[in-house]
Structures are given as structure tokens and as C-alpha cells.
Symmetry: C2
Subunit: 175 residues, 2 copies
């Protein structure tokens, strides 16, 4: 809840502004409208030959569960530069981004994952502060019951399916 | 600039929070951090047979210039539901979304366009309040000098290129 105006500090009220169709926080004093929108989580599905690199989370939520290097996109980034930043911060890799591999909208929490397929030149990495450890997994040995988020499961499922069919394209999922 | 705290109304200062790497607006009183992130513009490249549907904007910025039906994604939407909402609001169409056709990051203004290829069953539309008029254009007659935004130009360029090669895949661009 936005209780006070970012511009003048007065009380905000939730209402549908004139000409709009969505309830917003509107300032009763200066009229400022605080627009809230979904956030992008940008990241990488890192692969070396036929193995995927998964990271064990060092932080909540889902500490100790496995994830893909990804995080909130920052202002003045591109999807690609944000994905590369997260890959380097979380697991010390500089992958070659091939293409946007999947999007996954989580409407309940207003998040959209954008994950690139990222090829590695060598099976090397270095866990960053948000990562306890990391490891490469062959497709047949992905630990499906240890994945942190449904977005990670969706991305890996698509990768496995496409790998089996020898195809590669962008898939969009949601929940 | 965020001058006042949304939670308690006190003064905000811009600083790098502990454990962070990015300057944020932080409340000097309650410690609330106002995270600002890029916004998603979701929409459709509507096609009927080999023609694309372009909309003449009724509003600023770029009033009277041509665009694709698209707009800011709202909270609790998916990329797809937001794209369909915009397509219906702006030009009265209900396209069959085929796949995510392109992303285009505009880092200067912290926006990411996500556009789906949307096939129409009939060459019909109805301009909404933000659209002066709309029209179908064959690929050879796209008015390149009347396009509102670089993202629209990028999307149409990719569509024309892929059409010429008989391919379809997701491309990511940025500026």
C-alpha cells in the first residue's frame, strides 16, 4: 500500500483516475498518480555442452533450493545487460547469450521472468554471495524436486523438450 | 525523484543501501527502500494474411504517428493477457497470439517492449479512444517514415526479414 505521496508527502487514496480503468494511488493534494507495474526478472539458462548450470540459493526465499542465475532488472539496463550482470554476480559466468529462451509471467506477484539461453565456453563458475554452490547437471539428472520456483521448472522443462526435438525457440508461459 | 516515503511520509535520501550496489531512495525515518525498475510495454503485431495492422495514435507522445497496439502491462496480468487487453482497447481486435515475436529494451527510459505475433481471422477492427484510425499495410507498403517509435520500427523490420526468409522466431533488440 502506498500511503503517502512521493512528490509532496500528503495522503494518498486509492481510486480510478479520470480516463483510466484501473485503481491507482492518487494524491489528494497535488494529484500525483503512483503507477505500479509488474517487475522483470531477467536471467540466463547457462549451458555447457548438454549440461545446465544450477545455483543453490544462499538467501531467502527458497534458501538451499536450486535456481537459475536471475534477478530484478534495474533501471537503464537492457534485458541482455541485466541477464549478464546477474549471471556474473550470482555465479561468476560470462555466457554467450544465444536468444531469449522463455518468458514466464507470475500474475499473482506481478513478475515476468525473461530468460536467455546462455552458452558457456568452459565448465567453470564461481559462486557469488547469493549462491551457496552451483553444479552442472546433465538433462537426465536434473533434480526436479529441488527447484526453487515454478519459473525455473518451466524453463528447464522447455529446454529438455526442445533438446529432445532438436529445436530452439522462445516459449511463453504463465500462472 | 522520490522525495517522500510511501510508508511513513518522511524525507527520502538517495543512497546505496547496505548489501546493495545500486543507488535507491531510502527513508531516513522508517528505512523503507523504494525500488524502481523498468516497465513492460506489452502488445501485438497484428497480421491478417500478409498484411500488418497499424494504428494512428490519438494521444501524445507521437500523436498522428503509426504504432502497434501496445501499452504498459498492469499488475496481476500476464504478458499475454496484457497484450490482448491492449489490442482490444486500442483497435478492437481479438488476435490469436502465436508466439512472443520480439523484445526491445529502451534503456534510456527503462522500458522493455514485449510484442506477440497476433493473427486475425478477419480484416476487421474498431479504433478505440487512443487511436485516431487504423489500416492494414502489405509488407511492401509499410510507411517506414511514419512510425512512432524505434520499437515499432524494430518489430516491423524483423517481421519483414523473417517473412522474406520464411522463418519465425523471437528476436531481442535494444538501444
Amino acid at each position: 500500500m502506498i500511503q503517502f505521496c512521493a512528490q509532496c508527502g500528503s495522503d494518498m487514496t486509492y481510486q480510478i483516475p479520470e480516463g483510466d480503468t484501473v485503481t491507482r494511488a492518487v494524491c489528494g493534494s497535488c494529484g500525483y498518480i503512483a503507477y505500479e507495474n509488474p517487475k522483470i526478472i531477467t536471467g540466463v539458462l547457462p549451458v555447457y555442452q548438454d549440461q545446465v548450470l544450477l545455483c543453490k540459493r544462499a538467501i531467502e526465499p527458497k534458501k538451499n533450493w536450486l535456481t537459475l542465475p536471475s534477478g530484478f532488472m534495474e533501471c537503464n539496463e537492457t534485458l541482455e545487460s541485466g541477464a549478464l550482470r546477474e549471471a556474473y554476480e550470482e555465479v561468476g559466468i560470462v555466457p554467450n547469450l544465444k536468444f531469449l529462451f522463455c518468458t514466464y509471467s507470475v500474475s499473482r506477484v506481478s513478475q515476468v521472468y525473461c530468460l536467455f539461453l546462455g552458452e558457456l565456453d568452459a565448465p567453470e563458475f564461481k559462486a557469488g554471495p547469493e549462491t551457496l554452490s552451483a553444479a552442472f547437471y546433465s538433462i537426465s539428472k536434473i533434480p526436479w524436486d529441488q527447484l526453487a520456483f515454478s519459473s525455473v521448472r518451466f524453463a528447464l522443462r522447455q529446454y529438455v523438450d526442445q533438446h529432445a526435438r532438436g529445436e530452439s525457440y522462445c516459449v511463453s508461459g504463465s500462472e
